[in-house]
């Protein structure tokens, strides 16, 4: 939902970043207001996953320029855990398996860290069990998954449901969902997308990073951004995603090539 007067939650300006010696982001600018759903689309290697990891503070990526303001504060100066406690959430493309750490314990510690960030008191084991059982319904997840190690032996769909369960518990202000649709069959996609729709509200915002239109058939974005070679090439409404679906990414390559020939735009 677009409301021009809604508060700005995330403001990315001319962001550049590299991994090892490889520049990946080459000047990304994006403004996200409360209530909005944004989609970033692009080919593999366009930098869209890097954008999500940089926002969450992954140590393998180095920011080389630009700014990111989150709720008016400098996001990039915060440790990853402080970003999370302040309400930034990254849904992983490949959720990590952690043998020996119980999913329930992990969810409780994470939820309490976020609650502390909001100035709320910690939930004890019993209160948390009640909460988690209620939130399980958002993703129609079997409570048996709480007793297992974090993501260990989960199928692709189960891992993604576990991500959305975490989102339901952490109640983020800005959720960045990296390729949440990848590896999902159509039923799992519907459940996961249903969870995202359920959690989206006027006070929070969602940034979907995706390769395919099919996620956007079930979650309607307010804005679609097309990314290539580390920049946002074009921004439009949901019809831009349909255009991409129809025409493929070849026109993006052509547009990019034209851009690279324009000296003023380079560097």
């Amino acid at each position: 939902m677009i409301r021009p007067d809604a508060p700005v939650l995330l403001e990315i300006r001319d962001l550049t970043a590299r991994v090892e010696d490889q520049p990946i982001l080459k000047g990304v600018s994006l403004t996200i207001r409360a209530g909005e759903i944004h989609a970033v689309m692009g080919r593999n290697g366009s930098g869209k996953s890097t954008l999500s990891k940089v926002l969450a503070g992954h140590p393998a990526y180095t920011v080389t320029g630009g700014t990111v303001r989150y709720m008016g504060d400098d996001l990039l100066s915060l440790e990853p855990e402080l970003r999370a406690r302040a309400g930034l959430f990254l849904g992983f493309q490949y959720p990590v398996e952690i043998p020996g750490v119980s999913n329930l314990e992990f969810l409780r510690v994470a939820t309490n860290a976020r609650r502390a960030g909001k100035g709320e008191e910690e939930l004890d084991t019993f209160a948390f069990e009640d909460l988690v059982r209620e939130r399980l319904q958002v993703v129609q997840m079997d409570p048996a998954f709480l007793e297992r190690s974090v993501n260990e032996g989960f199928s692709g769909g189960e891992k993604k449901r576990n991500e959305i369960l975490q989102m339901a518990l952490l109640e983020p202000l800005v959720a960045v969902l990296d390729e949440t649709d990848s590896g999902l069959d159509i039923d799992a996609l519907r459940i996961v997308a249903g969870g995202v729709n359920h959690l989206a509200g006027p006070d929070n915002a969602t940034l979907l990073i995706t390769h395919y239109q099919r996620l956007l058939d079930v979650i309607t974005p307010d804005y679609v951004h097309v990314m290539a070679a580390g920049r946002i090439l074009r921004t439009g409404g949901k019809e831009l995603a349909l255009e991409l679906e129809e025409r493929g990414y070849d026109w993006v390559d052509a547009e990019l090539a034209a851009l690279e020939r324009t000296p003023a735009e380079v560097g």
Binding site: A56, G57, H58, P59, A60, E79, P80, E81, R83, A84, R85, F89, L90, F92, P95, V96, I98, P99, G100, V101, E105, F106, V109, A110, A113, R114, G117, S149, Q166, L170
Partner: protein
């Protein structure tokens, strides 16, 4: 105590070590109990066996200095505080002197072995597993005053909990255990050994498993900065038997565990799961040996280690598959977590395979905490140090959760990570 040189002990240090054994023997031999004769034999052998030095392969990475710093005398520990016993388990306290069975009514299926039969049986499993001449076994044989010897018939529903606490006193606590499982017998045993001072807990368990017998064995040993542990677990398995050993030791200045298994006719199942921790300047060592003396045997072995501070972890896993042990299926995995730049991990599989139709897999990994795992936890609001703690606990739990249920009141994880009372 600092040795002048670790790899080549000086003559003075060697002489001091020799006099340590001499002093110990002077203090520990004599007496007229049932073990007197075998103790005398072991004492003579010990006197003629040089103290293990780092020039011997089996002790190459394991410095004995913390051990020879222990006062060479027998220890009589006073009973310490203990948690409640878990439901369904029987706790026997071992102090090296008193009879652990005094005033105890044993559950159905367990009976003491004594007299001539004890003398005839004791040491047989040590011989069968090639353990009789090991220095820690000789040391135990030369000092132990009594033995807890039990025969097992049928399925024993009660878990046997064998508990010692060397406490804060100085000296040596020798413990000797013998279990004879009749064919088709089944038993669960948990050993718990603790120390809070400059002492040595020396424990030797012999277990003979008859055909089709099953022994589920746990060993939890947590020490103090100056305490030492030398534990030998010798197991002889007849066909169709199952032995499952789950061990966790850490916190000892020197803690060494030697599981020695033989499947005397093959066609048995052996499983070893172990966790060892070394922090500070501690040494945690496991030397395991599995011998298949017949075909169709199986081994599943997982050994995990954590080294932090200037701790040192040593694992040597020998698996012997002679020609007659065809169709052996053995898998060994060593997984190690290195948490500090100054810690050290030595891990070595030692496979001797002569039979040609076998499956023997082995692997070893040494790593730090996974960056991706840490980041995943941090991205959920969990601070880096807490995330590291969670990952470490997860690494340990994979083994600890396999300990017998009776271990739960002892809080193995908190005990080994030094978190009691938190």
């Amino acid at each position: 105590m600092v040795a002048a040189s670790l790899s080549t002990p000086t003559a003075a240090a060697a002489a001091a070590a020799g006099s340590w054994v001499a002093a110990l023997l002077a203090n520990a031999t004599g007496g007229a109990d049932a073990l007197a004769a075998s103790r005398e034999r072991a004492a003579q052998a010990l006197a003629q066996t040089p103290l293990p030095s780092r020039r011997v392969e089996a002790w190459r990475f394991t410095d004995l200095a913390p051990l020879t710093a222990v006062k060479p005398t027998l220890l009589s520990p006073a009973p310490g505080a203990q948690p409640e016993t878990a439901a369904g388990s029987l706790r026997l306290n071992l102090d090296g002197h008193s009879d652990p069975l005094a005033g105890i009514s044993l559950p159905a299926g367990l009976e003491p072995i004594g007299g001539d039969e004890l003398n005839a049986t004791l040491g047989q499993v040590l011989a069968a597993t090639g353990s009789a001449e090991l220095w820690p076994v000789l040391l135990n044989g030369a000092t132990a005053r009594n033995v807890l010897a039990l025969r097992v018939r049928g399925t024993v529903a009660t878990t046997l909990e064998l508990v010692s606490d060397a406490g804060a006193g100085e000296g040596i606590l020798p413990l000797r255990l013998l279990l004879v499982l009749e064919p088709e017998a089944s038993l669960e045993v948990l050993q718990v050994h603790r120390s809070s001072g400059a002492n040595l807990t020396s424990v030797v368990l012999e277990a003979r498993l008859g055909e089709g017998a099953e022994l589920r064995h746990g060993l939890l040993a947590s020490g103090a900065e100056t305490g030492c542990l030398l534990a030998t677990v010798a197991v002889e398995q007849a066909t169709g038997s199952r032995y499952s050993g789950v061990s966790a030791h850490g916190g000892w200045a020197l803690g060494r565990l030697e599981p020695r298994l033989v499947q005397s006719e093959g066609a048995a199942h052996s499983a070893l799961k172990a966790l060892q921790l070394a922090d500070g300047r501690q040494i945690s060592d496991t030397h395991s040996q599995m011998v298949f003396e017949g075909p169709d045997g199986r081994l599943e072995q997982l050994h995990k280690a954590v080294a932090d501070g200037q701790g040192r972890s040593v694992f040597n896993g020998a698996v012997k598959v002679p020609r007659l042990a065809q169709r052996t299926d053995a898998a060994q995995l060593s997984r190690n977590l290195l948490l500090s730049d100054r810690a050290r991990i030595d891990t070595k599989p030692e496979l001797e395979i002569v039979a040609d139709d076998v499956r023997c897999a082995h692997g070893a990994t040494v790593s730090r905490l996974e960056q991706d795992e840490l980041f995943y936890l941090q991205s959920r609001g969990i601070a880096a140090d807490q995330a590291a703690r969670l990952l470490l606990r997860g690494f340990c739990e994979e083994v600890l959760q396999e300990l017998p249920e009776a271990a739960r009141p002892w809080q193995p994880l908190a005990r080994l990570l030094g978190e009691q009372g938190r």
